[in-house]
């Protein structure tokens, strides 16, 4: 086994509380499949047979009991639960399962929806004997209007500064705008080794990492690192160019020091594998080099290397905001070949369903209904003369006659009263929308109206 897959599915979805209030983030329906299905499917497609899923008790319970979130995967899932209120970061979680980690790991976040060729990332990891390789993608502009959000885009987002070398693969620099008060500071020695650095700010991190086993061991020794993205990755990127990790002599010294003083915290990553000597020998004998322009050894003698694969095209979303959630739902049908209308759904012949819509299992769609660019969840009932456009209807929702739903998200088990007119709203789980006319009411803290024309008319 070359790589062990680890799926991080314990996140609370703090950036889209409206949605995760009742449903944990890994189980949010996207294209009528729980969000966690997408990374699992990604792993399964490339041939993983086993995956360690780090999640919460709640999710575990729902996966095993709730038929609506049935995971359609053949892989063996090794569910590891962590306490919800422990406030563990991703690195903490990785440390938690250190005992299970026998080889290098592939860490995936549960909110990743992508059609990326995963081998690109792994190939970088293999080819360069890298310590870390990760996946990034050009950031997408979200085009859909987001319920409850004023204005089209949130400004003031802090950009990530990612520096790569001329090949666009080697990761040289990484920092968040928030930490760059003094501007971007780069050591000259790095510029000497990599004289042309591309700094990209318009990238989104897919939170997919290949990590050497030694990194996991390193985490076990360093309790202070709690987040992979926030602390570990920047640390590794920085470490690439520090002397102590590059000269074997120093490593030996620290090794000795460690033996002498066991209580000392191991701050150095011991990047050595059993093949290390052979690899070193091949590198010595080979005329191959990773750079040109000077006469120094491949990788300038560095032993710690970070790489990144940047997707130029294709789908890559992290479903961690409402906007991303809506966008992902719109794109999800393109990711799998399944009939848009589930065979068990009862759909009246006299209704209009656009090709870009999905109808879940055991739905009932009545006459004279029109559904365009929308997702209808499992066991949802849609009565006559309903118009649904650009909306996401989750599971078990009932929509009474004559409703008009546009650009909205209706969470599970909500009931929309007859004739309701809902535009750009988010209707919370199990909410009841009073019938009648034009008004769009919803529980004040779970539904937000956002519309050019005032719809409140009590």
């Amino acid at each position: 086994m070359e790589l062990q897959a680890v799926l991080m599915a314990a996140g609370g979805g703090s950036r889209m509380m409206d949605l995760t209030y009742n449903t944990p983030k890994p189980l949010l329906p996207v294209g009528n499949k729980p969000l966690i299905w997408y990374p699992l499917n990604l792993l399964e497609r490339v041939g993983f047979e086993e995956v360690i899923v780090i999640t919460t008790k709640e999710v575990q319970k729902m996966i095993s009991t709730d038929p609506k979130v049935k995971l359609d995967v053949k892989m063996k899932l090794d569910l590891v639960c962590i306490q919800e209120d422990a406030d563990m970061g991703t690195a903490d979680a990785l440390r938690h399962i250190q005992q299970k980690v026998k080889t290098d790991v592939l860490v995936v976040s549960c909110d990743l929806i992508t059609d990326a060729a995963l081998h690109e990332v792994v190939d970088l990891f293999r080819a360069h004997n890298a310590t870390l390789s990760m996946l990034m993608s050009k950031a997408h502009e979200f085009t859909e209007t987001v319920p409850g959000q004023k204005g089209k885009k949130k400004t003031g987002e802090q950009r990530d500064f990612v520096g790569v070398d001329d090949t666009g693969k080697r990761l040289l620099f990484m920092a968040n705008e928030a930490d760059l008060d003094e501007g971007v500071v780069i050591r000259k020695s790095i510029m000497r080794k990599h004289p042309r650095m591309h700094i990209k700010t318009g990238l989104v991190d897919a939170h997919l990492y290949c990590l050497k086993k030694s990194v996991v061991d390193f985490l076990a020794d360093n309790k202070s690192i709690s987040s992979i993205r926030g602390e570990l990755v920047p640390y590794l990127v920085r470490k690439q160019f520090s002397k102590s990790t590059n000269s074997p002599k120093v490593i030996d010294e620290t090794h000795q020091n460690l033996k002498k003083n066991d209580s000392n915290v191991n701050l150095e990553i011991q990047i050595s594998s059993r093949d290390e000597e052979l690899l070193h020998l091949t590198q010595e004998r080979s005329c191959w080099n990773d750079h040109r322009g000077d006469m120094s050894d491949a990788y300038h003698g560095g032993r710690l290397r970070c790489y990144v694969h940047i997707m130029d095209e294709g789908i890559c979303y992290r479903v961690n905001t409402l906007a991303a959630y809506i966008e992902a739902n719109r794109l999800a049908p393109k990711l799998f070949d399944e009939p848009a209308v589930h065979p068990s759904a009862v759909v009246s012949e006299r209704c209009l369903i656009g090709a870009d819509s999905i109808i879940g299992a055991s739905c009932q769609i009545s006459d004279k209904t029109s559904i365009k660019r929308s997702t209808i969840g499992v066991s949802t009932t849609v009565r006559e003369k309903v118009k649904v456009t650009n909306s996401i209807i989750m599971h078990g929702v009932t929509i009474e006659e004559g409703c008009n739903i546009q650009g909205s998200v209706i969470c599970s088990n909500a009931v929309i009263g007859r004739g309701a007119d809902i535009k750009y709203c988010l209707v919370g789980s199990a909410q009841r929308i009073e019938p009648d006319g034009e008004h769009t009411t919803a529980s004040p803290h779970l539904a937000i109206t956002h519309s050019p024309t005032p719809l409140y008319s009590n």
Binding site: G183, K188, R192, P195, T201, K243
Partner: protein
Amino acid sequence: PHPSTGGGGIAPLTEQEEEEQPLQAVLVADSFNRRFFPISKDQPRALLPLGNVAMIDYTLEFLTSTGVQETFVFCCWMSNKIKDHLLKSKWCRPTSPNVVHIITSDLYRSLGDVLRDVDAKNLVRNDFILVYGDVVSNIDVSQALQEHRHRRKVDKNISVMTMVFKESSPGHKSRCEEDDVIVAMDSKSKRVLHYQKTQGLKKLQFPMNIFQHGSDEFEIRHDLLDCHISICSPQVAELFTDNFDYQTRNDFVRGILVNEEILGNQIHLYVTQDGYGARVSNLQMYDSVSSDMVRRWVYPLTPEANFTDQQGQGCTHSRHNVYRGAEVSLGHGSQMEENVLIGRDTSIGANCHISNSVIGNNCTIGDNVVLDRAHMWNNVHISSNVEIHQSVVCDGAVVKEAVHLNKQCVLAYNVVIGPNLSLPDGTVVSMHHPEEEEEDDDDEFLSDDQEVGHSKDKTRQKAFNPAEVGPEGKGYIWKASMNDTEDEELAQCLWGLVLNPDPESDSESEASEESQDRSRSVSPEIDDVNAFQLEVLGTLQRGLEENIVCDNLVLEINSLKYAYNITLKEVMQILTRVVLEYPFQQQGTQLTTLQYTGSLLPLLKTWSPVFKNYIKRAQDHLDCLSAVEELFLEQDTHQTAMVKVLMKMYQLEILEEEAILKWFSTGATNDKSRQLRKNQGKQRMSLQRKESEEDESSEEGE
């Protein structure tokens, strides 16, 4: 004289006119520095031969081949010589496709002056190429020119300059270390966002505002060789007029980038991958450009091409890049190994060994001579058994029997050396006495505009030193470090910088960063202390710079103490440490003990009120002392300074005598500190006895 002086006198041209306008160039045939002194005392830099052709001819050939039709040559230093040279050259023939105007003035002091004059005389009406007279290049600028014009058309006159760079990785030998630049640019628009010389820097800092221009891809490039070729819009000349403090192109670029938001002007970049372009800015560059030339990197400008079209300049090219001019005679057993260029009418004796060298016209070389990377100009006479390595021998110089020139020697015009002498590395010999320059130097102009003649009588009287130049020698040794007046000129010796970077200093900075890393990740508690220490250092620094009253410093430190939640004891320890480390902080760790105490003691005096504020109780004294001890245990090379520090602190009444004695007598915590105390003990006692009357018998116990 022209009526129009300031900017704005240029009428806007229509598009069609613009294309019909002949391409113009401004060639600055003066370096405005003294880098090539003493060589350039006799000949302006632009006329120095490179591959037996004057450098300015390369520049003009480059301009002509790139399509320039009108060139303004600005001369200052020895303008007559340049003028004579140009008038005789092919550039001033009626058939020349490039019309050369020579403009001379003794008043030019910098590139800025030249461009201000360009503006005043209203010479350019369109985009022009700006080069120095010592640029050797075969770059086809037309594409850069096209890009430049396109940019100007798209956004009305926003781009004022396009700098031409050649891609070459750091450490390349034709990269001038002094010109080592780092450029931050916008990947898409190729706009220069940040431009900085990196010499002496360990960390490169890019301000955030350059990343806030809407683009999401930037490039930081350190693989660029500055060709010193720029395509300028006519506004450049106006901008130089408007900003009379712009002296060099560097000033200009910096000014434009800094004031970008105000003026709205931008600078762009053109990077060529093939093509050759370099400026001969010091002898190191002269050496590399010359060898590149012989190795045919500047094709089609090769030695045998005779592009200056002068009679008798032609030569033949044979294997291993050996070029021979007309009437060259080569003695029996002499070898021209590779990359050798020999000018016409030169005769070489028997059993010579010549490689990687350029030899001028009318030279005579004796038997058994070894030349490697030698640059010999015209009419040089070399006797037998001479060995020359990587050196420049100027016109008319005579090297007598059995002379050995080590690396980086320079024999200026008409110098005689030898016989039987070995010149050490970097010897510069000139017929001009070095002091002669200083005498002339009253008006502090950087330009090589001094008249040499009138001081000749004086120098004649000074005798040549046979120990330096040999028994029959004529010439004076020039010391390498001539100019230490201005910091910018510090590194500007004739040969320029050594190419080897200092790897040790590199690792040092890494190590320090390392330790920062470490402390950062260990625990936040140490972080606070560290941060506090840095803040205190900053406060004290500012205090010194801005002359802040000690009371205010105390106030500031107190507020920091609360901000970082630091105990009073720690405050004192940190304060002591910061003050004692201050000289290292400011002047590096390589200080000698004497220098250290010299700079520390006045500081102690300045900051004694601050100390007094914190050191009151007996325990405080002891804490302070232990902090001092701790520091000197770390800096074990400076332990001898400790007694002076304690003495000073005692004199300033920061520390009380009893406290010192108590500290002294209390048991040392470990072997090392015991050793330290022992070492200090004797000296301290004697010193204290001598200098303070109240010293009592309490010390006798020791």
